[in-house]
């Protein structure tokens, strides 16, 4: 089976799902991205990406309880699957491997 690759934004959202755990839902993820990366993301983009990741089997979802804050609307809480975690790890390791190939700063100076 050919390995599926994740786009940059997909990887970002997947990481956020993993990081936020019980609090991983659309608006929260968008807010976190904005706060931590100062990157203005559109709510609908986050939602679409979440659904797409769910289709690919990297995350799963369940409906959370209603809170007053949202006018009684429930949240859809996402959680990372083991497949998602494996992919995330694989991507991270691949990136670190690649990073090691880059000549490091001290070599240039030295």
């Amino acid at each position: 089976m050919a390995r599926e690759f994740l786009g940059e934004f997909e990887e970002l959202v997947l990481t956020m799902v993993a990081a936020l755990r019980e609090d991983a839902y659309g608006a929260a993820i968008a807010d976190e991205i904005q706060i931590r990366l100062s990157r203005d993301v559109n709510l609908s983009a986050v939602h679409v990406t979440l659904y797409r990741l769910e289709d690919k089997g990297y995350i799963k979802s369940s409906m959370g309880g209603a809170t007053k804050e949202r006018g009684g609307r429930r949240k859809r809480i996402f959680s990372i699957t083991s497949a998602g975690m494996a992919t995330l790890k694989a991507m991270r390791e691949a990136r670190i491997d690649l990073w090691k190939l880059v000549p490091q700063l001290k070599l240039i100076v030295g």
Partner: protein, 879 residues
């Protein structure tokens, strides 16, 4: 802000009421809507506190709009995973069983759709053929026809396409943007073709420049495009004309003797053309090179003689507009006092858009094509409406099935798909039937409309078109029923919920639409019929019965006096008149005639016609002033002239007798005024005509009209005349035309329009009535219990008939009320194209309405009568 309400609650209502959010709710799959709305509320709440009310609301709207994206909208999951082949197969099986169980209903549905589609396909073929006229030429987009534009006295601009011969040669040599410029001439003259002992007479001759065959794509079977017409004595024949002349012998390279008047000239066949397709406005049997005329009679350099069509092929990459600009004043430059401007008009627009009004293109045949296309659409629409109405009316028969399917887990989408499958199946069956029908009806349809349309069974485009039509009809007919049926709630159905049967507003609107179209079509048929009859019965001012004409061929023009005497002495011919053209055709016209007191700005076009003598006796034209031309009693009548009343009006001569009219330097003295007669078009007012005497000369007076003795048999007369003609002119066959038949040919277009409107209105009404029959049958069936109860409680048959009739006919009455103005307006518009036309009489619309009501009544009366007479015990005992 309402006091007592928390700010959260307020945010929720604000978000829910936002227009963008509402719009999103419509398209967003319900399974994910809640969490999205929740996120929006949460964010709005926060931003309202930090950024203020206005900004927060703007951002909310924008966020909601951004949710209208494929990633969200297309997440309607059920749409994607029910299309399993098994389910489709199940739907088709069920559809098939239901169709078989209700034969009557199925027949009405399929027959209606099949009739509609047959009609639409036939009309579609005609439309396609019209649209394809002269579209097949290679690089056809670079070929243009040169037109003239001239401002008339009243300020109107008139346009025409006849140009001088010298134009093409000038364009070819002087303009670098021109790839090729050729003349195409269509001369009315008689030519006798002789090969061995075969003689064929042709009354038109087509002269072209050699480049004609490379500008237009009429392919040669034999011969070379570049050299076929290079030699002055070469000729190109069409395949079928070559076969007529040469029979089974090889025509290519063969010798033909062509005789015109006293000349006999040998020609060599240098090319055989494939027979011309039917979708071209060029009609010819043979082509002769202009170089032949030029070799024998010299090059024509007269810029005022508009006698040919000039075709220009513009070089690739050069805009036709800029060339048009360059040649605009070409005529003015070459001719003193000339006011005419030239312009280019695309060949591909020539067939459909060549009508000009006041110097700008104003449509033309395309209007008829659009009307016919609309008619085809209406037919399909009427048939689809039948399907829609029957399906929704019969919904109650399907409710149990729908409910069971829903309870066992069918999504609404699945049901929609099921009903669409059914309607597409019906459309497919109807399509197959109509394909067969078209195949068998096409020859008859072709005869009717005088065309030679064909179904291209091997063409992918045709099958694609057919497939798309079936699909569209299926979706159009099945779309609304599918949505309606799938919306029924299983709870209501199982509780025995009351289904609104009779009062479906959409159904009534559709019936109104159907019968509105039917009414419009009936009115059109009446009006077209009356207008055609009106034109045909127009008093044309001469007696066209027992009048024949023939072209003066070979020795006849030289021996004319002897021929004339011989004809008269047979006793079959009472009067003989020599003319320049058949009385049904114009010869030429001019605005250059001069008379005493002519306003110098007056450039009214006056028709030229030449007559030797006895016009009144031969044609039956009435003399209102003065006398007829008579060369025996008044030898000076060879320079005499007759004018018609219209000409007398134009010339504003109080006493025209004795006045002189000058035409191209030749004076003519007026000896009489004739009552207006129809000379060119029976649709228009009579044009002014000047009929010039025998001085015109034998070469111009090439036609002879013979008045047959009405008391003798026509067959014997023709035999006798033919013997005399052959005796005086042994080399030529005797050919003649009856003027009344020739005149009747002017109505070919009207006859076609009449035939199409009559047949297709009939078809539309029939399909509409078929639907009405199905609908009323079903609605009456559904009200059987009600009728039974009414009868038990003392309702009379009459009152029940009245009740049911009232219900069935109400939409039709509405149709009449709403569509009468439309029908009137449509026909008023159609009549504008005729100068000589009827007024729409007020009673045409009531009469059409009455006819429509009568037909609808006939359709439903039997059903209603049967229902009203039913024994109530039969309907009431079962429960």
């Amino acid at each position: 802000m309402t006091p007592g309400r928390s700010s959260e609650e307020d945010s929720v209502t604000r978000v829910a009421r936002n227009w963008a959010v509402r719009m999103m709710r419509r398209v967003c799959p319900p399974s994910i809507y809640e969490e999205i709305e929740g996120d929006l509320i949460q964010r709005f709440e926060r931003e309202r506190a930090t950024l203020g009310e206005g900004t927060a609301r703007r951002r909310l709207t924008w966020s909601a709009i951004r949710f209208l994206r494929p990633g969200i909208v297309l997440r309607h999951q059920w749409n994607l995973n029910i299309t399993s082949p098994t389910m489709i197969f199940n739907y088709l099986t069920i559809a098939w069983r239901i169709m078989r169980r209700n034969t009557g209903y199925t027949v009405i549905n399929i027959l209606g759709l099949a009739l509609g589609m047959t009609g639409a396909l036939l009309l579609g073929l005609w439309v396609t053929n019209e649209l394809s006229f002269d579209q097949f030429h290679q690089d056809g987009d670079r070929v243009h026809i040169v037109w003239n534009r001239e401002k008339q006295q009243g300020g109107d601009v008139s346009c025409w396409s006849a140009t001088p011969r010298v134009l093409a040669t000038t364009l070819q040599s002087d303009y670098s943007a021109v790839e090729q410029a050729v003349s195409y001439a269509d001369y009315n003259d008689s030519y006798l073709f002789t090969v061995g002992d075969r003689h064929i007479l042709k009354n038109t001759a087509n002269f072209v420049d050699p480049g004609f065959l490379s500008v237009l794509s009429f392919p040669l079977i034999r011969g070379d495009v570049n050299t076929a017409l290079a030699d002055p004595n070469s000729i190109v024949l069409t395949e079928s004309f070559a076969r007529q002349l040469f029979g089974e012998h090889e025509a290519f390279g063969g010798e033909i003797t062509m005789a015109q008047g006293e000349y006999k000239i040998p020609f060599t066949v240098k090319g055989i053309l494939k027979d011309l397709p039917s979708n071209t406005d060029f009609h010819f049997d043979f082509l002769l090179p202009f170089s032949f005329i030029e070799k024998n009679f010299g090059r024509e350099t007269n810029w005022s003689n508009n006698s040919v069509i000039t075709l220009v092929k513009v070089k690739g990459g050069v805009s036709a507009e800029s060339l048009g600009e360059q040649i605009r004043d070409l005529k003015k430059k070459n001719l003193k006092g000339e006011e005419t401007e030239l312009f280019l008009y695309a060949l591909e627009r020539n067939h459909l858009y060549s009508q000009f009004e006041n110097g700008v293109p104003s449509g033309g045949r395309i209007e008829i094509v659009r009307m016919i296309g609309l008619l085809a659409l209406i037919l399909v629409l009427i048939a689809c409406i039948n399907f829609i109405n029957l399906s929704t009316a019969r919904a109650s028969k399907r409710t149990k099935e729908i409910a069971v399917r829903k309870v066992t887990g069918a999504f609404r989408g699945a049901l929609v798909l099921q009903f669409l499958c059914e309607s597409i199946l019906v459309a497919l069956l109807a399509g197959i039937i109509s394909l067969g029908a078209v195949y068998f009806l096409l020859p008859a349809f072709n005869t009717l409309i005088q065309q030679s349309l064909r179904v291209e069974l091997t063409s992918m485009a045709f099958w694609l078109f057919l497939g798309i039509t079936v699909l569209i009809v299926g979706l159009l007919a099945g779309g609304y029923p599918a949505l309606y049926l799938s919306s029924l709630s299983p709870i209501n159905i199982f509780k025995g919920g009351w289904l609104e049967l009779g009062r479906n507003r959409i159904r009534s609107v559709l019936v109104v639409l159907q019968f509105g179209f039917a009414l419009t079509l009936i009115v059109s048929t009446f009006v077209v019929f009356k207008q055609t009859k009106f034109l045909q019965q127009r008093n044309i001012g001469y007696d066209r019965a027992n009048l024949i004409y023939q072209y003066l061929t070979g020795k006849l023009s030289v021996n004319f006096p002897a021929y004339r005497e011989a004809l008269l002495s047979t006793g079959f011919v009472t009067s003989v008149t020599c003319t320049s053209s058949p009385i049904t055709q114009r010869m030429s016209n001019t605005s250059g005639m001069k008379w005493r007191g002519k306003d110098p700005g007056n450039n009214t076009v006056i028709e030229r016609f030449a007559v030797d003598q006895h016009l009144s006796e031969t044609m039956g034209v009435q003399i209102v002033q003065g006398r007829d031309l008579d060369l025996v009693k008044f030898p000076s009548d060879s320079t005499g002239a007759l004018i018609n009343e219209a000409a007398a009006r134009v010339m504003k001569l109080d006493n025209p007798i004795g006045e002189i009219i000058e035409d191209s330097g030749q004076p003519w003295h007026i000896v009489g005024v004739v009552k207006d007669f129809v000379f060119t078009s029976p649709y228009r007012r009579v044009e002014p005509i000047v009929m010039q005497g025998a001085k015109v000369g034998a070469h111009m007076a090439g036609v002879v009209h013979l008045r047959l003795n009405g008391r003798r048999s026509i067959r014997e007369a023709i035999d006798a005349i033919s013997r005399v003609a052959i005796k005086h002119n042994p080399d030529y066959p005797f050919e003649y035309q009856f003027v009344d038949e020739e005149y009747a040919r002017k109505f070919a277009n009207e006859e076609t329009t009449l035939a199409i409107t009559t047949i297709f209105s009939g078809l539309a009404i029939f399909i509409g009535c078929l639907g009405l029959l199905g609908l009323s049958t079903y609605l009456i069936e559904a009200r059987m219990k009600e009728i039974g109860i009414r009868k038990v409680l003392g309702g009379t048959t009459v009152s029940i008939v009245r009740l049911l009739t009232h219900h069935s006919l109400r939409p039709i009455v509405w149709a009449i009320v709403l569509f009468s103005p439309l029908a009137w307006w449509a026909m008023h518009w159609w009549l504008q194209s005729y100068e000589y036309r009827i007024h729409i009489t007020w009673w045409i619309i009531p009469m059409a309405a009455l006819l429509l009501l009568l037909m609808a009544m006939t359709t439903i009366t039997f059903q209603i009568y049967k229902a009203a007479n039913i024994n109530p015990t039969a309907t009431l005992k079962a429960e």
